[in-house]
């Protein structure tokens, strides 16, 4: 098996029963696996709620390490729409040419820098730095701030031994508190200041609401982007012909990005809390239990995708759910797509080939399933054009 391959551990269960089960801190989760069920439940926010106790829809649950509600992520309609309308224009800024020019300069500099290294550990030397630097653009704050986040490591909640490290989460929360204090004392044109100045139904957002948006922005776009970037490097290392094709046919870049994001599904699944006794694929889902919407499984559903386990670079119809679906679709998707687009174009332009020297897979354990979501580490050598 190729190192860049991400297999589909859900296939048999998806075909046979449509769901899987896992325990998570004594709050079990029914994992929904079929494309149709995943989209239907994502759409039905009344029965499958996001606005539960903060942290409960995340798997593994963050109920014990977080009290702040992430916004708009953990709020349902109609309130959700109000919050979303506040943040949406800001998160569409990556469509602006000047934003793209800055992001392009960041990514080109990084590729130039590592291009002549003998060995690049992609997760920490490349993806983490790329993600952190790009985040300064999304927040509209000085570039130098990225260094602080790079020093935090790859996951703001996760340490080496423990998937839910409370002390690491506290680092992020304390940091955001301090940044909000700074923005209150000296308002600028950064996201903190813009949120502090925003109104919902005629009332300024509270400090806690601002914190909720900021935690979401930091946490939601960290290991997801890192996985997408790292997996892309691994893919192009083993598929130099794809890099050549993108160089010769740049018009397929948009489709290629969507296909890589479908195939990688950087976020495996996301939970919902069931609000009333119901059924999903003939399986009883009781009120106050949890289900999860398995984006990674839905993306490999052969009822929807031809050759689901292959990267078809110019796939024309690609209703993947890697950015979620319906009301709660990913707020950072515009930023993420720009990162991927510019990364792929820069690699096609500057890199001839990539050699994988060593790698350590990152495997998630989800009850009966083990899913490779990316790499804990992967050493490569870039060969410049």
């Amino acid at each position: 098996m190729k190192k860049s391959e991400l297999s589909d551990p859900f296939e048999q269960a998806r075909l046979e029963k449509g769901y899987g089960e896992m325990n998570d801190q004594d709050d079990p989760v029914t994992i929904l696996l079929r494309h149709k069920d995943v989209r239907k439940c994502a759409h039905n926010w009344k029965t499958f709620q996001s606005g539960a106790v903060p942290g409960r829809i995340v798997v593994p649950s963050e109920v014990n390490i977080r009290e702040t509600r992430q916004i708009p992520f953990e709020v349902d309609p109609p309130m959700h729409g109000g919050y979303r309308a506040i943040v949406e224009p800001w998160f569409k800024r990556p469509l602006q040419p000047e934003y793209q020019a800055k992001l392009t300069a960041q990514i080109q500099d990084l590729v130039d820098e590592v291009a002549d290294w003998d060995s690049v550990e992609v997760v920490s030397d490349f993806a983490l730095r790329l993600q952190s630097r790009a985040l300064t653009l999304l927040l509209n704050i000085p570039y130098e701030e990225a260094q602080t986040w790079i020093e935090w490591g790859t996951h703001v909640f996760r340490s080496e031994d423990d998937a839910l490290d409370g002390s690491k989460a506290a680092i992020l929360y304390d940091y955001i508190d301090a940044q909000i204090d700074k923005a209150i004392a000296q308002p600028g044109e950064d996201l903190y200041s813009v949120l502090l100045d925003s109104e919902l139904d005629g009332k300024k957002l509270t400090r806690e609401e601002v914190k909720g948006v900021m935690i979401l922005t930091f946490a939601g776009g960290r290991d997801t982007v890192i996985n997408a970037v790292t997996n892309s490097i691994a893919y192009f290392a083993e598929h130099p012909e794809s890099l050549t094709r993108l160089r010769n046919e740049p018009e397929i870049t948009g489709r290629a990005i969507e296909e890589l994001i479908r195939y990688f599904a950087p976020l495996t699944h996301m939970g919902r809390v069931v609000t009333e006794d119901t059924q999903v694929c003939e399986h009883a889902a009781k009120a106050d239990t949890r289900v999860s919407l398995c984006w990674a499984s839905a993306n490999r559903d052969a009822a929807v995708f031809e050759k689901p386990n292959e990267v078809v670079l110019d796939r024309k119809l690609n209703p993947h759910v890697s950015f979620g679906f319906s009301h709660h679709n990913c707020l950072g998707a515009t930023h993420a797509r720009q990162i991927m687009n510019i990364l792929v174009k820069t690699l096609a332009d500057k890199v001839q080939s990539i050699d994988i020297l060593a790698s350590q897979e990152n495997i998630e354990e989800l009850g009966e399933f083990n899913r490779k979501v990316g790499f804990d580490s992967i050493k490569v050598k870039f060969n410049a054009r």
Partner: protein, 102 residues
């Protein structure tokens, strides 16, 4: 060459001409308000939703299963709904009127 008219949610009417690409691309290139085309046209995001004028439904033709499934879960969809990334610009579309969905 096909003439395509978009009516935005604030009732502005814009008529554009094109001979290739998708209707979504045409709309995005010309900053038609309400057509975002986030996914670039692979039928994954539903941010290019339009209602075809009832008298022009034949010009647009029928949606694929994948597009129909997508629209089925859109609260603002009706029998005239299409995702315009799935409409290729051809002479057949000439004169079509598309109302941008809310």
């Amino acid at each position: 060459m096909a003439k395509i008219t978009f009516i935005t949610t604030d009732n502005e009417s814009v008529t554009l001409e094109a001979d290739s690409g998708s209707v979504m691309e045409l709309a995005v290139q010309n900053n038609i308000k309400g057509i975002d085309g986030d996914c670039g046209g692979v039928c994954s995001c539903a941010t290019c939703h339009v209602h075809v004028a009832p008298e022009h439904v034949e010009k647009a033709g029928e949606a694929s299963e994948i597009e129909k499934d997508m629209l089925e879960l859109d609260d603002n969809a009706d029998e005239f709904s299409r995702l315009c990334c799935q409409l290729d610009v051809t002479d057949q579309l000439d004169g079509i009127i598309l109302r941008v969905a809310v």
